[in-house]
Symmetry: C2
Subunit: 296 residues, 2 copies
């Protein structure tokens, strides 16, 4: 199986899982919230975070199928964060992945609730013993706790707070690094961590997986900033130049595009090096490489 | 110990717990989100939901101290729902418990994030084995799952969706009952349920506790609607007449005040009757009675 095939297979597992987990008998009574959550959760996307859960579970010796509720829970939390990020009181974005943002379609009140609903559903799904019957309870708790920590105000939300705070003012590199480590890094690392927990990784492997995820997470974000300057709007599915327009500090803005490219190279090399702790790491190696040359 | 004394003791446990759980070493880097969450979580309130967790744990034979993380998690979720409810795109309220609402003090973006943060923190706290070391993992999972289900779109959020949808239009009694059972009932029932799970209640006790909570939850909501017509603004801490002003359907509007009062009486009697499944139910009996004559 090529890297692309495996990534596509993981994405398909994720989408089927999301479809299943976002249904409810209550839809007859109030359909709009279920439609709103599925609208954003099933809007495509790379499904990078779920892929990390599945793959780290697999190369730690576990069955990726068992990781499904956690992979979907992580993607739900990622999706909720995008919906709330796009709100008029936050980034006020009209387009996301080439489609109108959630509040543009369903209105602001429903978009707030759809974000809340996805965040809550993540835990409904991860904590449901019908979804995790083959795992022991301590393992489930440990994985779900990793997810909660990464998503909270000591993780992703903290990054979002710094981001809001940094609008229309210049921040230094240290602050921008903290912002990105929290805002993007924490959820990506949670993907690797949950995969390792579910697959039964050793402590050494757990640490290596965390290093890998932290490095590709940062490389991913620097690449994102570069795409906002140099990308193709049609491929990207959102307008370019939005960082500059909203007065955000970015890695290219602070370091220049060339230094950014060599940082991405170094981070990718470091990420790949840390995979030495695993035997079957071809997919993750190629995945890291592919992120350095992505177009969207 | 009188009912009032025990209720005050539970409220104090809750407040100390919330203070502890809402701290973080990251406050030095971005203080505002921690301040914003504490502002609303520590703004007083009856702490009814945590009291149910503690007391059902106690009368099921457990140590109420062990229920602390779950009592606080439940109150965090209740608080987040108030913050998001008050947002300009939702109910657009300026006052809550006699104080300016979260977005009035911290701005809309931070209020959205403070709600998200409290919702996430609830699971960070409930899933932290350092907080639940004396409980077995299956018990923790079961209690945390009850909380997630009650808070999600098949629970509280569903009620909120129906509520938004019902603004400025007349809805019938069935729809209003569904709205309230979801919006207020689910979290109150989750309090009783978690207490029973943590205390090791029998299946029969669990069912009785659920009946009690469902009945007092509905009585509580009907009383709330009455207070919005007949209450004292200064005691209530919010303007009266806001339901009518926003065109919301209410129990008094549909049934008249007199029928509401006799419904509250019947619901309270039924709630108290279901306490027969427990031996030491004086507190819960008095609590149910006290809710029928409350002023705020």
């Amino acid at each position: 199986m090529t890297m692309e095939q495996r990534l596509a297979a993981y994405a398909e597992m994720t989408e089927k899982g999301l479809e299943k987990y976002l249904q409810s008998p209550n839809e007859v009574n109030y359909p709009q919230i279920f439609e709103a959550t599925r609208y954003s959760a099933l809007a495509g996307g790379k499904r990078l975070r779920p892929a990390l859960v599945f793959e780290f579970c697999r190369i730690s010796g576990g069955d990726p199928e068992k990781a499904l509720p956690f992979a979907c829970a992580l993607e739900m939390i990622h999706t909720y964060s995008l919906i709330h990020d796009d709100l008029p009181c936050m980034d006020n974005d009209d387009l996301r992945r080439g489609k109108p943002t959630n509040h543009k379609v369903f209105g602001e009140a429903t978009a707030v609730l759809a974000g809340d609903a996805l965040l809550t559903r993540a835990f409904e799904v991860a904590l449901d013993r019908e979804n995790t019957a083959e795992l022991d309870a301590e393992t489930v708790l440990c994985a779900a706790k990793a997810l909660a920590d990464a998503a909270g105000m000591d993780g992703m939300i903290g990054g979002q707070v710094i981001d809001m705070d940094a609008e229309n003012k210049q921040i230094g590199l240290d602050r921008l690094l903290l912002l990105q480590q929290l805002k993007t890094g924490c959820l990506i690392r949670a993907g690797a961590r949950m995969g390792c927990i579910l697959g039964g990784a050793t402590a050494e492997q757990m640490e290596a997986a965390d290093r890998y995820a932290a490095k590709i997470g940062l490389a991913f974000q620097i690449e994102d900033d570069l795409l906002d300057i140099e990308g193709d709007e049609a491929v990207l599915g959102k307008p370019i130049g939005s960082d500059a327009a909203s007065g955000k500090s970015t890695f290219p803005g602070l370091l220049g595009a060339e230094e950014c490219r060599s940082m991405i190279r170094r981070l990718t090399d470091d990420a790949i090096e840390s995979l030495g702790a695993f035997e079957d790491s071809g997919f993750l190696r190629e995945l890291a490489e592919s992120l350095t040359s992505r177009k969207s």
